[in-house]
């Protein structure tokens, strides 16, 4: 492998990884707080992408800056996330993890098929939001788009980390999963915390949609399901419920995918999954997770 190929792949891997990491954050936040795999999370990306697909021409026609459509996507995604939570997830919250899992699967199906009915099954091309040149760095072609994407990802993650650690609501978000009843006793409105978690997670999905569309400007109604699954795996890999774990897992999955693709293009998915299995068997709670045994 030449240096330039390696470097190119590294950048690609980081780019892919940053996308996964952002999606994984949404999974991990929701899982961390209500112990539920929100399978519909992947589809929030699709919603974000469609929002941009429809609003970019609007913004351009109205003479407004195109990046405003990213804001629109964030708002739409957050609203959809909160609505899904209130309508579908809240009623089944007490019914056990099996019901929650199935409801999430059903919502995923619902959103995908609703999108098909509304927007059609034909793939659509999203216009570019940034049109940045490619620069040459030490003989390696570096598209500035990609650099910007990675930068946005890093900024989002850092911001989220600060939010969770420093703000009041962030602290509430950390306390609810530890002991829900105790959180209620100290005056935390658990339902509100859960709603906010969904809003933030979905907003992150919108940003992920932006990053994805910058790289692959294609929108389909089922674009979220595979990507969501891989991002979820990234979250589990890093240790689900742990925010730095989601970032680490996302970057790892991205890098593994891109590098394995170089050597065995047909097998990269299988190898990614195999690595997940091995890691979970060695460390059942993920790379950064803590093993908690059941008290007897």
């Amino acid at each position: 492998m030449t240096f330039s190929l390696f470097f190119q792949s590294l950048i690609n891997g980081l780019n892919q990884g940053a996308i996964y990491a952002l999606i994984a954050l949404g999974y991990t936040m929701v899982y961390g707080i209500i112990r539920m795999i929100n399978f519909a999370h992947g589809d929030f990306i699709m919603i974000g992408a469609y929002t941009m697909f429809y609003t970019i021409p609007l913004m351009a026609n109205a003479g407004m800056p195109v990046w405003l459509s990213v804001l629109a996507a964030i708002i739409v995604c957050s609203v959809v996330g909160v609505v899904v939570e209130v309508i579908a997830y809240k009623p089944v919250r007490q019914a056990g993890s099996m019901s929650a899992l199935i409801t999430a699967l059903a919502m995923s199906l619902f959103l995908e098929n609703l999108a098909m009915v509304l927007f059609g099954a034909k793939p659509q091309n999203v216009q570019k939001i940034f049109d940045l040149p490619t620069i040459n760095f030490l003989g390696v072609a570096l598209p500035l788009n990609v650099i910007l994407t990675i930068l946005i990802g890093v900024i989002m993650m850092a911001g989220l980390q600060i939010f969770i650690k420093k703000t009041k609501i962030g602290k509430a978000m950390r306390s609810v999963p530890q002991d829900r009843d105790a959180s209620i006793l100290v005056g935390i409105n658990v339902n509100r915390v859960i709603t906010i978690t969904f809003a933030i997670g979905s907003a992150l999905a919108a940003v992920a949609a932006l990053m994805y569309c910058t790289k692959y400007p294609r929108v389909t109604n089922d674009m979220g399901s595979m990507m969501g699954l891989k991002a979820f795996i990234a979250a589990v890999l890093g240790g689900i419920g742990i925010i730095p774990g989601a970032m680490l897992g996302g970057i790892l999955v991205g890098l593994i995918e891109i590098f394995v693709k170089l050597f065995a293009p047909g097998w990269y998915e299988a190898i990614t999954y195999a690595i997940l299995i091995v890691i979970l068997l060695v460390k059942p709670s993920g790379i950064l997770g803590k093993n908690v045994g059941e008290k007897v």
Binding site: A95, S97, M98, S99, T103, L105, G266, S285
Partner: protein
């Protein structure tokens, strides 16, 4: 005790034969006119879906663990049986035996895969197990995409059309009967004990891992048989048919029917597999409707439509013949359903 059960088995066998004769009557007299063949096809679809869903219910309902990778075992069965049947075709074997051999081979291969997946995966529990089963199913799918013998990612076509409804009906009945007997034996009992409390199960001398892997393997075997029927009904398939969404569909049919109820699996699978066909004219909306039904069931009946209730022909006959005894029977039912 023993005699009572044997009579009940006999009654159930008669019931299965009666239903079969009803189907034969309907199809042979061509009640449905030109669409007879089409409806037969739907019924065949229902047969293999029932086998797949009931087998998944062994894991989800009776063992109490998520498996989101059942389609992986289905695909192993489908591809293996297709390869076996095409290898044996033209060797002078009667069609039915050819079909049966292919299905057994498919089931056996899926069972072996089940052992290989189960031993490592079943050390995990809950959501982690769910995600590892997804991972295994995806690995299986990628393998089929890369093996030349399975079409190398392209459609594998020209599989013999062997899935005749009448055969499939009996194969389905046999498969369900075997699973029912399995669940109502010491194996089902230990597995349910593990579901209730695995620590207490181990403290009662139950080898938790062994029985979990065993049940998982039995489930994988029948998933493979179901896959075999699928392959010989569709006659062409591609690995993406067996993706995550297919696993999710099977799982949701288990849940809608009722976890821990084979009756629920049968009716749920039969209904949901024919639903797409029945609503073909609104095909655009059918998955939309399906997902809404799913959410509704989860909100209003979290245990599934049938919970863990099992239909019993013997009980029904008893109820019909002596109504005054009805009250006593219904009290017994409650515990029987959970057993």
């Amino acid at each position: 005790m023993e005699k009572k059960y044997k009579i009940s088995y006999l009654i159930n066998i008669l019931g299965v034969i009666a239903v079969f004769l009803l189907f034969v009557l309907l199809f042979e007299t061509k009640v449905f006119g030109p669409s007879t063949q089409y409806i037969k096809g739907i019924c065949t679809t229902a047969c293999y879906t029932i086998i797949m869903v009931a087998s998944l219910n062994l894991v989800v309902g009776f063992m109490g663990e998520f498996s989101l990778g059942h389609a992986g075992f289905v695909s192993v069965g489908a591809y293996t049986s297709a390869i076996v049947s095409s290898a044996l075709a033209g060797k002078g074997l009667p069609d039915f035996f050819l079909f049966l051999t292919a299905l057994m081979a498919g089931g056996a291969m899926a069972g072996i895969t089940g052992v290989m997946v189960g031993i490592p995966a079943l050390r995990l529990k809950g959501d982690y197990l769910a995600i590892v089963t997804v991972a295994f199913a995806e690995i299986i799918r990628v393998c089929f995409c890369n093996f030349p013998i399975t079409g190398g990612g392209k459609t594998m076509s020209g599989i013999l059309k062997l899935s005749d409804f009448y055969w499939c009906y009996w194969i389905m009945a046999a498969c369900v009967a075997v699973m029912y007997m399995y669940v109502r034996s010491r194996f089902g009992r230990t597995v349910k004990a593990i579901r209730e409390d695995y620590i207490a199960a181990a403290a009662s001398g139950i080898n938790v891992t062994y029985y979990k892997v065993m049940t998982f393997t039995v489930a994988a075997f029948f998933a493979g048989v179901g896959g075999g029927i699928y392959a010989h009904y569709m006659t062409a398939m591609i690995p993406t048919n067996f993706n995550f969404m297919y696993s999710a569909e099977l799982l949701s049919e288990v849940i809608i029917g009722g976890t821990g109820s084979l009756t629920g699996s049968i009716l749920g699978a039969a209904f949901l597999s024919s639903l797409p066909e029945m609503t073909r004219q609104f095909s655009k909306y059918r998955m939309l409707v399906y997902s809404i039904i799913l959410v509704m069931v989860m909100i209003f009946r979290p245990g599934g439509i049938f919970g863990n209730w099992e239909f019993s022909l013997t009980r029904l006959i008893k109820k019909l013949t002596r109504q005054e005894g009805g009250k006593k029977d219904s009290r017994n039912e409650k515990t029987k359903g959970g057993v």
